[in-house]
Amino acid sequence: MFFRRAGISHTRYRDERQIWPLPIDRYTVFLIAALLLAAPFLIDRLYVVSYLLPLIIWSTAALGLNLLMGGAGQIHLGYGAVIGIGAYSSVHMLRAGVPFELAMIGGGLAAAAIGSIFGAVAMRVKGLYLAMATLAMQYIVDFVIIQFPAISGGTQASLPVPPTSFLGFPVEGDRVPYYVALVICGIVTLFMLNVRRTAFGRALAAVREKDYAAAIIGVDPFRFKLLAFWVSSFIGGLTGAVLSVCYYRTIAPEQFHLDLSIQLVAMVIVGGLGSVLGVFFGVALILFAPILLNQAVALLADQFGMNLPMDLRAHLPLMLYGGLIMGFLLIEPLGLAKIRNNIRNYFLVWPFRHSRQ
């Protein structure tokens, strides 16, 4: 049943550099795309609305963050704030009557502008110090949103999203928001898959590996880091718009706090830095493990009549969740994408495990 790479030998560089060099991969991608498109008609709305939709939106955001973290090697602990800027700018534009398509771009641009200002400031520092500088961005943006009622929406600090439409379809109910998010996610995914094959992607890789070495070969690290901040913040802002319109429908400052930033960083790392596919795995794990573990524990406790103390029963999923993150990293410290690759490579060369040199 499994497939081999046997018989595929590339004769041109173009073939080798294809995104999906194996036909089976291409077919699988088409199949998954088709399944995602048909999902609202195939599966229960509960799974579309509260699993697939957040998976798609969070993946879009995590892809944007991965451009910065995996692509350019810049850690960012304020990505939640970037998404928040996008969300608040686009919702305010919508409330002012701007069409959603434009408000989405506007949110992206606002996030990109503010995000790259912070990026420029943070450019002097590296590694954990950069993490701290971006964390400071998170605090400053949080502060501004909370302290200015004009932004946060008054004493109630919640801003309802007015009804709107996307390319003529009213964004309401279960299906249209899903498709809007899917389209945006698809575009961002294709962009991320291709970016590594462009001069921009290669320049980023050079900057990531050693920025002063990159400078020597004529890649301006400052320019490309800034560009990476810009693009990544733009994607973040775009996601913020999608997130508020298609998923939250009412936005509040808590939705864009440090928790979101840490969650996204965790998704990218657990998935595998720099891996597009890994992002989806990471998002699925971090987003759904707590929910599913909760249901599993509740189910087990009910089915088998385990009389656990309430506190233990409530906290058991949290323990399992932490254990799961640790477990995956202990099994494969390079992330979920690497686990998949290991298994895939194992099958690709099976049963000649030492054949590839």
């Binding site: 520092v125 954990l128 110090y129 500088a133 020597i216 830095l273 323990m319 932490g322 640790m326 202990l330």
Partner: protein, 296 residues
Amino acid sequence: MDVILLLELAVNGIFVGLMYALVAAGMVLIYKTSGIANLAQGALAMTGAYVVVMLASAGLGLPIWAAVPLAMVVMFAVGAGIERLALRRMIGQPVIMVIMLTLGLEIFLRGLLPGVFGASVKRLDIGIPNAPLFLGELLVSRAILIGGGVSLALILLSILLFNSRFGIIMRAVSDNQTASWSVGIRVERAIAVAWGLSAAMATTSGVLWGATQGVDWSLSLLLIKALAIAILGGLDSIVGVLIAGVVVGLAESMATGILDPIVGGGTRDVVASVIIVVTLLVRPHGLFGREHIERV
């Protein structure tokens, strides 16, 4: 704005800053040996405080002067055990993955302790009276004074530790683990000791903070402030942490006193953030962090 108030805020700020610095010093201890930022430091403080509560009031009923040292011993073992069971297998792996592992540990501990010992806030009485203490017109809080003093003493002790022969080994390990192995340094043991000491220090912080706010999961939130102070100080410098702690404590206290009434909002975290960003712009490796030596 009267002088007494400013003075009071300054004294409070400095001592609270010292208490934060103690949490940060535990992070530095681990960073200095293994080069990773331990995101479970706050959770370790929480764990330590839970252990003290269990040994003292709620559990075995030991007197507090016996419970705290005993808890520190227990936590030393816990810290070393964490290194043995989890971190050791990650040696040589990308740093960011190891940091992520500590975040997993943080989540795990935050589930384990409240799950097993109960989520409700627990009282931790270390016998410091709350009654106000006036020095002239100046009011200082005994708890903060004692907490800051204990923190200062422990931080000074760890500075001494780093200048000993064991300190040289720890620094060598943080510099290059493979090279340390190659000359016979027991890297794992050094890191395990660092984790143990760090967990014991975290216990002290957990007790000092838990005595004021009570013991529950929220003690793990100390992490964020500790991380900020550790990075401002330079991540691998205990002296840096000491100074950064005082600077941040002072600035936050002053901001609360002076800026809050003007702005009408809690400026504490923002002011601290701005200080950190500005400092990092001037000194990209924190106040006392070592530079990255780059040779092509």
